[in-house]
């Protein structure tokens, strides 16, 4: 494959649930870039970030720190990939992966990305403080079954993402999420799991937080992206600063659809994907999507 390929897309994952066996370690230059960005982020974000290490994979219990680490990891991957000659023709950010996608495309600076993550987190925290929310994943049921279970399990529940024809993310109040996961297991789901979060990301509940977050978004200067970024909300290409600002704000409380986004990228002629982050979750999900394409993690890149 040509390293600078018109059929190549970078995909930036959401925050990770583990950093063990991190794939970036095999990418030339990654470790140096990661430590450089950590040193920039530490005074900018929180000094504790300097304590992060891959042996203990600390901070997993802290949503904000986990988002910072994943963002830094993804930005280091972006820099390393580009320095190694991988130039994408477009990109997409899964959930909070959008911040790294914006950094990669030159829309925002690294430190502005940190500021946006912190702003979104604190705006959301005001809404969720003292309340108990949750998210969960269900694998093995189709959309019809999931919709029925969600509507029967509680008023706050929403399907907030679809990862494949048989994999979904739900968000809502904790008890309702647990009820739905039990019902899904009863219905024959092959796997159900609570996510390690206290926030119903991408649910309408977060709309008030988006209004506050919008002020932070509009306080920054956004540049034209060096390549189109695909929206996970409607699959459209984001090519202007204004469309990106709107996407960022809407990303907090709109349902996403990763499955449809991936299909759209394939329709657009993309046939090679690189997952630019600490996990292989999107690579695994891509195995359930029909089509002639290759999906790489950072530790198994094409030569």
């Amino acid at each position: 494959m040509s390293l600078s390929d018109q059929h190549l897309a970078f995909i930036f994952p959401a925050f990770a649930s583990e950093y063990t066996n991190h794939p970036g370690i095999k990418l030339p230059g990654f470790i140096d870039h990661f430590h450089t960005l950590i040193s920039i982020a530490s005074p900018e974000a929180e000094t504790r970030l300097a304590d992060f290490d891959f042996e203990n994979h600390n901070f997993l219990e802290d949503e904000l720190y986990t988002q910072f680490i994943t963002y830094i990891y993804s930005c280091a991957a972006s820099v390393s990939l580009r320095k190694n000659g991988f130039i994408p023709s477009c990109s997409a950010g899964y959930s909070m992966g959008i911040y790294a996608a914006l950094y990669d495309a030159g829309v925002i600076s690294f430190t502005d990305g940190l500021m946006l993550i912190r702003s979104a987190y604190h705006a959301i925290l005001k809404l969720t403080a003292g309340k108990c929310y949750n998210m969960g994943t269900v694998i093995g049921l189709d959309i019809k079954d999931i919709k029925r279970i969600v509507s029967a399990s509680g008023a706050t529940l929403e399907i907030t993402n679809q990862n494949s024809a048989y994999a979904f993310v739900i968000s809502g109040e904790n008890t309702e999420v647990l009820t739905a996961l039990d019902a899904a297991r009863e219905e024959g789901a092959l796997h159900v799991r609570q996510l390690n979060v206290n926030t119903p990301y991408h649910s309408v509940f977060l709309q008030p937080a988006a209004m506050e977050f919008d002020h932070a978004v509009r306080s920054l200067t956004f540049s034209e992206p060096s390549c189109p970024i695909l929206s996970l909300i409607d699959g459209q290409e984001l090519t202007s600063p204004e469309s990106i600002r709107n996407e960022l704000t809407n990303n907090l409380f709109h349902h996403l659809n990763w499955f449809h986004t991936l299909m759209k990228l394939l329709d657009n002629g993309i046939n090679t994907f690189i997952e630019c982050g600490p996990s292989r979750g999107l690579l695994k999900n891509a195995k359930f999507v029909e089509g002639k394409f290759k999906f790489y993690a950072l530790d198994a890149l094409p030569h």
Partner: protein
């Protein structure tokens, strides 16, 4: 209902062993029927789902995933050998898999 021959058994075994060796990046010689999929191979549910999809396509199986899910809840598998046995039952009984429970 499909008839399970020795050839089918060998084919299923070959696919399962090759699949986990590749997915879990372990030498095939390190896998046997007593190998625990999660503890020994660090396998996960997406691998199980992927394997089911492979067999659904290969044998043109008429069965919904949730039927397999319901069966798996009552008959959980932990080892490679148990997984092979379940795949053979799925191929043999397809959408009537749950009738084995009665």
């Amino acid at each position: 209902m499909a008839r399970i021959t020795e050839n089918t058994k060998n084919e299923v075994r070959e696919i399962v062993y090759s699949f986990f060796a590749e997915e879990c990046e372990v030498d095939r010689s390190q896998i046997n029927d007593n190998t625990n999929i999660i503890k020994d191979l660090d396998g996960d549910s997406l691998m199980f789902l992927e394997l089911i999809e492979i067999f659904k396509k290969k044998y043109t199986l008429d069965i919904e995933l949730k039927v397999i899910g319901k069966y798996a809840v009552k008959n959980p598998v932990a080892t490679i050998g148990e997984l092979i046995d379940m795949q053979l039952l799925i191929i043999e009984h397809e959408k009537r898999l749950l009738e084995l429970e009665k």
